[in-house]
């Protein structure tokens, strides 16, 4: 039996907060408007920062599945990574400089050098949540969620829309993660027909990495 398509969209609520963790000291001396042109809006790039997943007993991500993420522009893309326990994470370095990613508290992901163009992998068996940090690029921060009942991970578009493909009918919990934070959680039921969800609204206030 073929699963159904589940569509949805994310809508960011207005907020003046950046939502990022406060660094030890101010990150700059000067951050002022250029005085020529108005500023571009600061928005969460959903594709880069968010993860929308379905949790439930229905369909499960295949065991041993390989998920690949990239280090690009000095940071992990996406910066929120959700995996099912038992899967493998492959981290590719697309930058021109080396990185040393590590996850404090997670065995097997210590700070080892990943030179430009190369990659490193880690097999994740234990459910949990860990920050991913880079010893060489201090601003590069991501978060890794390893869930035991992960059913599906949505594909995100730059405009915030997402889609799950081939979702078996059943009851699921839709969750939106941004970094370490769970922005929203919603119960959905997938039937034998495609499902379009109401827009999921989130704010940056609840986020953090």
């Amino acid at each position: 039996m073929r699963g159904q398509l589940v569509l949805g969209s994310l809508r960011e609520a207005a907020s003046g907060q950046t939502g990022k963790a406060k660094p030890p000291r101010a990150a700059f001396n000067w951050e002022v408007e250029n005085g020529v042109k108005e500023l571009a809006p600061t928005r969460v790039v959903a594709q880069r920062e968010l993860a929308v997943v379905l949790l439930g007993a229905g369909k499960a991500e295949s065991p041993g599945q390989l998920t690949e993420i990239a280090v690009s522009g000095g940071a992990l893309l996406p910066s929120t990574v959700v995996l099912r326990a038992g899967s493998t994470l492959r981290i590719r370095n697309d930058d021109e400089i080396g990185h040393e990613l590590f996850a404090p508290g997670l065995d097997g992901l210590s700070a080892e050098a990943t030179s430009p163009g190369s990659a490193r992998s880690i097999h994740l068996t234990k459910p949990g949540s860990w920050p991913l940090l880079d010893r060489l690029a201090s601003h590069a921060r991501a978060h890794l969620h390893v869930l035991s009942d992960l059913a599906a991970v949505a594909k995100l578009e730059p405009n915030g829309s997402f889609s799950f493909s081939d979702v078996p009918a059943g009851k699921y919990t839709l969750k939106v993660f941004r970094g370490a934070s769970e922005l929203t959680s919603k119960e959905i039921e997938v039937t034998d027909k495609p499902l379009t969800l109401d827009p999921v609204t989130f704010t940056q206030d609840k986020s953090g990495s």
């Binding site: 990150a27 951050e31 408007e33 571009a40 600061t42 522009g73 400089i97």
Partner: protein, 579 residues
């Protein structure tokens, strides 16, 4: 001496109090020095932050013209969305040329070779609207374009229109970045970023701006650059405690660390930089030497010329002079003056002007001293008297000559009563006093003799006395008459002139003096006395003076001298010759 002693005690107390104050002040001064140094380092940290902030602002303004350059803007706009490597490479080359041209303009604007190093960037980026590197200068400029800086905050914010600075770690190097958006056609088409490394020259300028503090920039436990002015703590000292500083909770909270003691005694504070790199433990340390006063001497040595000039030297000098003057006055009144008086009095004693000191002329110790001197004088006189017979002294005729007869002349001629008899008596004189004695028949008196035990015997003063005259006084106890002297004892060779052989005769005074002189020398020798320095001229002079004194008191026609032995010593007796 009382005032002097109290003055010494007072000065000792004052000196002790001053020394105590100096020692106490050491602790106070050192504690204040540590506190002051902590304050100074906190101020240094604030100032260094301000310097870095102003320097970042200056760089942001310096590169402002690049952000509105139409050529660069056009290239960045053109690069957006291009994924073809060849096309991107061509655009990258043109963009790099444009970037280099702007750097050249920056160098020209700065002018002077010295400033070129300050202006020429160690790294520079030109990124398109998505944050991809289109062109770059610096260590990685040979890399192909396309790598992204999009998530770096200084690029991310610049792409949104902010002018921003940051400190970043890029390819294991730390840069101070300044970024601006690039405007073209009324929209943001990318950003430029201009960066410097932390080098020693920059750090030296920072240290100079802080007035000579040691400044060290570090990245984790690695030092990036340092400047240690002369006298300041060395880099090794500051780096040695870096692990401790990095473990500081205050540092992790973004505050400065407490002052940390350095190996050589200085203090250092540590702080993370303002920027993203703070999360990678990029920061700086400011250190200064701690000068503690180790001793009061060092306290004085540490005084500056201004300190010395600030002293009320005339007042202090006057006070010191006054204290010294008071002490000198006490010393003068209580020591010098009584000492001088004592010395003069003693000189008078020595000169015979006074016999003793008058102890009431002094007080205190000098009175005791005067009393002691008096006692010493008495003792000396007594001792001299005791030692006089044994001593071989030069003859003093003034002492030897007996007192000049004042009223009774008879005794000196042997006519006075027994109590007035001179003790001088010779063996022959004694014998002459006895009727029928052999000496009586002798016309000449016997010479003086010595006793067997060395004690001189009395020298007969005259020949046998006339009838009716009192017999001669026998020799004093212990004095053996010459007749009884054992063999070998030489009698006085010259008989003394007798007073009874001058009847009607003219005295040959000169011959008498010579004769007495000879007898006197012989008796002295017999008595074991020295005759050294006893010339006839002196002898004659003394006899003449004595004769004159006798004649001045007695109506005599002359004076006859007799040699005799008195208490074991040769003696002379003067006797007037009746008219």
């Amino acid at each position: 001496m009382l005032l002097s002693r109290f003055w010494y005690i007072f000065l000792a107390v004052v000196a002790g109090a001053a020394a105590s104050a100096a020692l106490l002040s050491l602790g106070v001064i050192n504690r204040q020095a540590v506190e002051h140094l902590g304050d100074e380092l906190a101020r240094d940290r604030t100032e260094l932050d301000a310097i870095l902030r102003l320097e970042a602002r200056a760089r942001l303004d310096r590169i402002a013209f690049i952000s509105v350059d139409s050529k660069l803007g056009g290239l960045l706009k053109q690069a957006a969305g291009i994924g073809d490597r060849a096309q991107l490479g061509k655009l990258s080359s043109e963009t790099k040329d444009a970037l280099n041209a702007h750097v050249s303009r920056l160098l020209e604007a700065a002018g002077g070779d010295k400033k070129q190093d300050d202006v020429k960037p160690d790294i520079a980026f030109a990124v398109d609207a998505s944050g991809r590197i289109i062109a770059q200068l610096g260590p990685l400029e040979a890399n192909p374009p396309g790598s992204s800086l999009a998530t770096y905050p200084f690029i991310d914010r610049a792409l949104k229109g902010y002018v921003r600075d940051d400190v970043i770690v890029y390819d294991r190097r730390v840069y101070r970045m300044a970024s601006r958006p690039v405007l073209y056609g009324g929209e943001y088409v990318g950003a430029i970023a201009h960066g410097y490394r932390f080098d020693d020259a920059f750090t030296a300028r920072m240290a100079q701006g802080l007035g000579g503090a040691t400044v060290v920039f570090f990245y984790g436990r690695t030092t990036l650059a340092s400047a240690s002015p002369s006298g300041g703590p060395a880099l090794a000292e500051v780096a040695a405690v870096l692990p401790d500083a990095l473990a500081s909770e205050k540092l992790k909270r973004g505050e400065r660390s407490d002052p940390i003691a350095l190996r050589a005694g200085g203090r250092a504070v540590y702080s993370l930089v303002v920027g993203s790199a703070a999360q990678a433990d990029v920061g700086y340390a400011v250190a200064r030497p701690l000068t503690l006063v180790s001793s009061p001497l060092a306290f004085f040595q540490g005084a500056s010329r201004e300190d010395v000039q600030a002293l009320p030297l005339p007042l202090l000098g006057a006070a010191a002079f006054l204290l010294a003057l008071i002490g000198l006055l006490f010393v003068y009144f209580e020591r010098d003056r009584p000492y001088n008086v004592l010395r003069k009095k003693l000189q008078q004693v020595a000169a015979g002007e006074r016999e003793r000191l008058l102890v009431t002329e002094w007080r205190g110790a000098y009175r005791k001293l005067a009393d002691a001197i008096n006692q010493a004088l008495d003792k000396s006189i007594e001792r001299a008297a005791e030692l006089a017979p044994a001593a071989k002294k030069k003859a003093n005729l003034d002492e030897i000559l007996g007192p000049t007869p004042e009223s009774h002349v008879e005794p000196y001629f042997g006519f006075a009563d027994a109590g007035q008899q001179p003790k001088a008596a010779g063996q022959r004189a004694e014998a002459a006093a006895k009727p029928g004695a052999p000496a009586a028949a002798a016309p000449k008196p016997a010479a003086a003799t010595s006793t067997a035990n060395g004690a001189p015997a009395a020298v007969p003063a005259a020949a046998a006395p006339k009838a009716g005259l009192k017999p001669p006084v026998p020799a004093p106890p212990g004095v053996k008459p010459a007749a009884l002297a054992p063999a070998g004892v030489k009698p006085s060779p010259a008989p003394l002139p007798s007073s009874n052989d001058n009847s009607g005769e003219t005295l040959d005074e000169a011959a008498h003096f010579r004769e007495v002189y000879t007898q006197y020398l012989n008796v002295r020798k017999d008595c074991g006395e020295s005759t050294e320095g006893l010339s006839f001229e002196k002898f004659e002079l003394t006899l003449t003076k004595t004769r004159d004194q006798v004649l001045a008191k007695h109506p005599a026609k002359g004076v006859r001298f007799t040699v005799y032995v008195k208490e074991g010593k040769a003696a002379l007796k003067a006797a007037p010759v009746k008219r």
